[in-house]
Symmetry: C2
Subunit: 197 residues, 2 copies
């Protein structure tokens, strides 16, 4: 039904334009700080059109959250060649995280700001669980092999997400350049933080 052919099918895809506009607004001001008519204006459509594509404002944020979290999960949790050493698996995960963060800083800020919103539905929340589970199993495996120190997996997730989100936010405020070099320097620091020896 959706995205069947690429031939100017849905005119100019207002749904996509609405999600894009919503991201640009929600990312800095949050769900309650943005009015629906403003989203419509930024997307270049009338207010009523918003409700042709989304049942409610809640449905719109959830669709946006799901879309971004889905992309993020797909990018970061892509299959990893079996048998790789822990250090290289770590590097791969971190590279994927920061590549995504540098290409989609607004997505990172939006997710960081809305992770705990009461308007998120069960399906949106489920995507966060998927990510947490994957992260925890990486830490558990690394510990089993003796490569990672005796740390609570949740602490490692807190450290890594905090670092990536922090770099993204400080980069947005201009006090830091979040380039490949910064990413590598942080990878080095983070690995020292969690590695044995």
């Amino acid at each position: 039904m959706q995205t069947e052919k690429a031939k100017t099918k849905p005119a100019d895809d207002k749904r996509e334009k609405l999600l894009e506009a919503a991201l640009g607004l929600f990312e800095t001001r949050g769900y309650d700080g943005v009015a629906v008519p403003e989203i419509a204006a930024k997307a270049g459509v009338a207010v009523g059109t918003v409700y042709r594509y989304f049942e409610t404002k809640d449905a719109l944020v959830n669709a946006l959250y799901r879309s971004l979290k889905q992309s993020y999960n797909t990018a970061v949790l892509a299959p990893i060649e079996p048998g790789l050493p822990t250090r290289e698996i770590f590097s791969l995960y971190w590279q994927r995280m920061t590549l995504f963060a540098r290409e989609n800083p607004r997505a990172i800020r939006f997710m960081d700001l809305h992770h705990h919103g009461a308007y998120l539905d069960d399906e949106s929340r489920a995507l966060s669980k998927t990510y947490a589970k994957a992260a925890e199993s990486f830490v558990r495996d690394g510990r089993r092999r003796g490569d990672i120190r005796d740390l609570d997996p949740v602490m490692v997730v807190a450290l890594m997400w905090g670092a990536a989100a922090g770099l993204t936010k400080f980069s947005a405020s201009g006090s830091l350049k979040f380039d490949a070099h910064a990413s590598d320097a942080m990878e080095d620091a983070l690995w020292r933080a969690i590695a044995n020896d």
Copy 2:
């Protein structure tokens, strides 16, 4: 005029009750997610009373932000005995941060959520600057002495605040116990992340 004698002077200090109620509400739902009448209700006063103590809703958040950030700065940036080795200065700062975070988790979440709010005035923002300056000078000194690796001070701040805020948030969601042991484990990890050798 205020706090002259301890004799039931300001009745039950409604200003304090309003700030306390506002913290409990803003901390999870953010500035735009909370209505003034709701704050009044939680504080046990009438709506109009809010405006006897604060000119606007904006003034209320700013007063709250200033009060919390002030407490935080005072606790963390207290004078440090001169001549202490970098490792011990680091430990002291981290201990102060996590002690404050564990005693005032709502303050941490509130600050983390409102740091970049457009409603914050210059005086509120100035308090963030004070903190950033202190953190940067610690990193610079440590680097000069050769104890800290060649890292952007902003990256160290991102790492440390991210870790403390992350622990606070995951602790609130029940997936982690933010006790003295967790704090010590994280201190160890963070020091490995930034230390030379």
